[in-house]
């Protein structure tokens, strides 16, 4: 009886620990990677304006997308946060990672066309494939027109 009680405690705690440790390492790695790739694409001008700068004669539709999941540790932290209210920092970092990744994939595509300017960028965030427990994944889709 006592063993099954301990066991039912061990499972969620080990999941939280696993989510925390692996999630942390992955996040740090991803942020370093994002920074490095953003630096290498510094010459590409991003704009959400519709105006076409002078001298541009070719356009190409470009896009980038990423689907992310929320780790177990972050879900627990967020559910505690929901009780008190306020900023949910754990989700904020996750969303900013996803958004930067999607934008970088879009730039990557534009780079294939030797474009130095992306106009009319739109970024869309949506919840996809939500299951019955309300756990969904988030998709960030960034699109724009690469001009050259």
């Amino acid at each position: 009886m006592i063993f099954s009680y301990i066991f039912s405690l061990i499972v969620p705690i080990s999941l939280i620990l696993l989510g925390f440790i692996v999630g942390r390492i992955n996040e740090a790695k991803h942020f370093a990677d994002l920074q490095q790739r953003e630096d290498s694409f510094k010459h590409v001008v991003l704009s959400d304006l519709k105006a076409i700068p002078e001298g541009m004669c070719h356009s190409q539709f470009v896009s980038g997308s990423v689907v992310i999941s929320i780790d177990y540790y972050k879900r627990i932290i967020a559910s505690i946060r929901m009780f008190f209210g306020g900023e949910v920092a754990s989700y904020q970092s996750l969303l900013s990672r996803a958004r930067r990744e999607a934008i970088l994939r879009m730039i990557d595509e534009a780079d294939d066309y030797d474009s130095k300017y992306i106009a009319n960028i739109r970024i869309e965030t949506s919840k996809v494939f939500e299951n019955d427990k309300g756990i969904g994944s988030l998709e960030v889709y960034a699109y724009g027109t690469a001009l050259s």
């Binding site: 999941l15 696993l18 989510g19 692996v22 999630g23 992955n26 996040e27 991803h30 519709k50 076409i52 541009m56 004669c57 070719h58 356009s59 539709f61 896009s63 997308s65 990423v66 689907v67 992310i68 999941s69 929320i70 780790d71 177990y72 540790y73 972050k74 996750l94 996803a98 990744e101 106009a119 009319n120 739109r122 869309e124 949506s126 919840k127 996809v128 494939f129 939500e130 299951n131 019955d132 756990i135 969904g136 994944s137 998709e139 889709y141 699109y143 724009g144 027109t145 001009l147």
Partner: protein, 109 residues
């Protein structure tokens, strides 16, 4: 289909719109399959990108774009302008991707 120009701008640089043909659209609803779901379930513990889902949504976006292009081709257009995308979760495990734009005939100036 390859000569159809797609843009989310209201015009294409170096061209002039000579005819508006009206709105064209394409949509698709895709469900994830069980194999992908099991892997995603594991990924939900540690978090991070779900590559299988990214691929799935990219595929479905391509399909809805193809449907929009097919409709535009039928109308005799050579470009689709002001393209917008929208994604929604229609039911548990299924997502809809909807794409729409304006079919036009453009001419190089």
């Amino acid at each position: 289909m390859s000569n159809m120009q797609i843009s989310n701008l209201e015009n294409i640089p170096g061209t002039k719109i000579i005819k508006h043909l009206g709105m064209v659209q394409g949509n698709t609803v895709r469900a994830k399959h069980v194999g992908r779901d099991i892997l995603a379930g594991l990924k939900n513990i540690v978090g991070g990108e779900l590559h299988a889902y990214t691929e799935l949504l990219t595929e479905s976006r391509q399909q809805s774009t193809d449907r929009m292009i097919a409709q535009a081709t039928k109308m005799g257009a050579n470009a689709v302008l002001n393209v917008r995308f929208s994604t929604s979760s229609v039911s548990a495990g299924a997502s809809e991707i909807y794409v729409y734009g304006t079919a036009v005939v453009v001419e190089t100036v």
